[in-house]
C-alpha cells in the first residue's frame, strides 16, 4: 500500500529547517533524496520516520549514517539484535537472523562481542540487518555508506537490493552522492533550503534537470565513475 504523509515540517531555535512537505512513496519504490549539505535531507527523513511511527499505521525502519550512531558500544551485538526483535514486536527467531545474516554476508562475527569488536563494514551491514528484521514497509537510509570505502559501500548496497528484490519494502536513500543515487534509485527528490524542489524519475532529473539545485548536483558527473 502506498505511503502518503503530508504536512511534514521542522524548525530549530525558531528557524524553519523543513518547509511543509508532502511525501508519497509506493511499495518497492527506490527513491534517492539528494541535495547539498544542509538542504534538509536528514531532517525530512527523521520527520517522515517520526510521523509514520506516531501514526503507527506503517512499519518504518531507519539506518543512520554511521554504525556509531546506531550501536551502543557497551552492549553486545546479540543484545542489540534481541532488542531490535522486541522493538519490532517479534519473538526471537534464529532462522530469520541466519537468513538476514546470509543475505547481507555477515559472516564470522561473534555476537557476544561489542560493536568495536567488529569491522566497520560488518557493523553497518548488521545495522541494516536489524532494520530489516520486521520487513518494514519503508526503509529510510541516511547516508548509509558514507562511513565505508567505495567498494564495501557498493557491495553493501548490492546485497541490500538483492534482499529487497522480492519484498514490498520501499527504500528512501538520503545521500549527497548523486552517483550512488543515479545508479540504484528509480526516482530522485532534490532538496534545497528545506523544501523538495524537484521530484521526478532518475533519468529525467539527470538528463533534464529543471532547478538550480538539480543542475548543480548534475555538474559533478565524476561521481558516476566511482563504484556504486
Amino acid at each position: 500500500m502506498t505511503i502518503t504523509v503530508s504536512g511534514l515540517s521542522a524548525s530549530h531555535s525558531g528557524r524553519t529547517i523543513l518547509q511543509e512537505t508532502d511525501v508519497t512513496i509506493r511499495p518497492r519504490e527506490r527513491i534517492g533524496l539528494v541535495g547539498a549539505s544542509g538542504s534538509g535531507k536528514s531532517t525530512l527523513g527523521h520527520a517522515l520516520i517520526d510521523k509514520l511511527r506516531a501514526q503507527g499505521e506503517r512499519s518504518v525502519a531507519h539506518v543512520p549514517q554511521s554504525p556509531d550512531e546506531a550501536l551502543d558500544p557497551l552492549r553486545s551485538m546479540a543484545f542489540h539484535w534481541r532488542e531490535a526483535e522486541r522493538a519490532s514486536g517479534l519473538a526471537p527467531d534464529q532462522a530469520r537472523r541466519q537468513e538476514l545474516f546470509a543475505a547481507l554476508r555477515i559472516e564470522g562475527g561473534d555476537l557476544r562481542k561489542r560493536p568495536w569488536g567488529w569491522s566497520r563494514g560488518m557493523q553497518q551491514r548488521f545495522v541494516i540487518a536489524m532494520a530489516l528484521i520486521g520487513t518494514p514497509d519503508l526503509l529510510v537510509m541516511d547516508e548509509p555508506t558514507s562511513a565505508l570505502d567505495p567498494v564495501v559501500a557498493a557491495s553493501t548496497m548490492s546485497l541490500l537490493e538483492n534482499y529487497l528484490s522480492d519484498r514490498q519494502t520501499a527504500l528512501l536513500l538520503i545521500t549527497h552522492d548523486l552517483g550512488l543515487a543515479a545508479c540504484r534509485m528509480d526516482r530522485l527528490m532534490v532538496m534545497q533550503t528545506g523544501r523538495i524542489v524537484e521530484d521526478a524519475p532518475t533519468q529525467k532529473v539527470l538528463s533534464a534537470p529543471k532547478t538550480d539545485a538539480a543542475r548543480s548536483l548534475c555538474l559533478h558527473r565524476s561521481w558516476l565513475e566511482l563504484p556504486c
Binding site: 543512520p64 546506531a70 551502543d72 557497551l74 543484545f79 522493538a87
Partner: protein
C-alpha cells in the same frame, strides 16, 4: 584476567609498602623523644632516664630506624599488628572495637549521601538549566565547599543546642548517630549529585540514542539499558573515591561529636606516640584505599571493556 589481577595486586603491594615506610619515617622523625612520650603516657608522671631507656628498648626503638621498622613490618606481614607501646595490649582487638563504631557511621553517611543525591540528580536532569537544576547545582557546590567540621558544629548548634531534638555527643543510642551521619552524608551528597547530574546529562546526549528511539525501543528500555550503564562508568569512579574518603571524614566527624571510634583511637595514639596503634590505623586506611581502588579498577573494566582493551 589472572594477569590483570596479578598486576593490580603488585601495584597495590608497592603502594602499601610505600605507605608503611613513609608513615614510619614521619613518626620516627617527628620532634621529641618517642620513648619519653610513651613513658609519660604509660606512667602519667615524670620518670627517670633509666625507665625511659627501658621503654625505648621494649618498644624496639634503640636499634635505629631500620631495625625498628623491620621489627614492626615483619610481624605485620603475617597479620600481627603488634602491641600498644603504652598499654602493652594487642592492637588488633582495640582496632576492631574502634572500627565497630566507625564503619557503621561511614555506612550511614554513605546512605544519607545516596538518599539525597540520587533523587536530587534525577529531578535536576528532568529539565536541564531549569530552576530545579540550578538549585541542585548550587546546593551541591555549597555542600562541597563547606568543611565537615564547620557543618558538624552548625548542626550541633541547631539541632542539639537550639532545638534540643538530637543528642550531640557520644554514641549511646541510634539517635546519637543521626547528626554525625548527616554531617558526613551531606558532603558525600554534594559530590555524588554533581557527578550523577553530569553523568546522566552526558549519557542522555549519546549520539546513538536517537537511532534507538527511531528503531522503536521503549523509552524505559533506553534509560535502563543504554543510559544507566553509561552513567555508571563515571559514577563508579567517584563513588569508589567517596567510599575511601568516607573513612577519613568519619574520623574527623567522630572527633567533632566526641564519638568513640577510629578518630579517638588515632588521636590518643598520636598524642602518646604509640607507634603500633598509629601505624595500624594508617595501614588499615591504606589497605581500604587500595582494595577499593582495585575493586573499582575491575568493576570499571567490567562496565566498559574498552578500557581493558586499550590497556592491552
Amino acid at each position: 584476567m589472572i594477569k590483570l589481577v596479578a598486576s593490580l595486586v603488585l601495584r597495590a603491594s608497592v603502594v602499601l609498602t610505600g605507605t608503611a615506610l613513609a608513615t614510619f619515617a614521619l613518626l620516627w622523625n617527628a620532634p621529641g623523644d618517642p620513648a619519653l612520650a610513651i613513658a609519660l603516657a604509660r606512667y602519667n608522671a615524670v620518670v627517670p632516664v633509666e625507665v625511659i631507656d627501658q621503654v625505648r628498648a621494649e618498644a624496639g626503638l634503640d636499634g635505629g630506624f631500620w631495625s625498628a621498622f623491620s621489627g614492626w613490618i615483619t610481624p605485620l606481614i603475617l597479620g600481627d599488628l603488634g602491641q600498644s607501646s603504652v598499654t602493652g595490649r594487642d592492637v588488633w582487638p582495640e582496632l576492631v572495637t574502634a572500627m565497630s563504631y566507625t564503619f557503621p557511621l561511614a555506612l550511614a553517611g554513605l546512605l544519607v549521601g545516596i538518599a539525597i543525591s540520587v533523587p536530587l540528580a534525577l529531578l535536576a536532569t528532568q529539565r536541564p538549566g531549569g530552576w530545579l537544576d540550578r538549585c541542585a547545582v548550587a546546593l551541591a557546590s555549597i555542600g562541597a565547599a563547606i568543611p565537615a567540621y564547620w557543618l558538624g558544629l552548625l548542626l550541633i548548634l541547631l539541632f542539639a543546642v537550639q532545638l534540643g531534638w538530637l543528642p550531640a555527643m557520644g554514641a549511646r543510642t541510634p539517635a546519637h548517630m543521626l547528626l554525625p551521619a548527616l554531617t558526613l552524608g551531606l558532603g558525600v551528597a554534594a559530590s555524588l549529585t554533581r557527578i550523577l547530574r553530569s553523568g546522566i546529562l552526558e549519557a542522555r546526549g549519546q549520539h546513538f540514542l536517537p537511532a534507538f528511539r527511531r528503531r522503536g525501543v521503549a523509552a524505559s528500555d533506553i534509560s535502563r539499558h543504554h543510559v544507566a550503564p553509561h552513567v555508571a562508568v563515571p559514577v563508579v569512579t567517584v563513588f569508589g573515591l567517596e567510599l575511601a574518603f568516607l573513612l577519613e571524614g568519619a574520623v574527623m566527624v567522630e572527633v567533632i561529636f566526641s564519638r568513640p571510634g577510629l578518630g579517638s583511637f588515632l588521636v590518643s595514639a598520636i598524642e602518646a606516640r604509640d607507634f603500633p596503634k598509629v601505624q595500624a590505623v594508617v595501614i588499615l586506611s591504606a589497605v581500604l584505599f587500595v582494595t577499593i581502588n582495585l575493586l573499582i579498577d575491575l568493576l570499571y573494566r567490567a562496565l566498559d571493556p574498552r578500557i581493558g582493551e586499550r590497556d592491552a
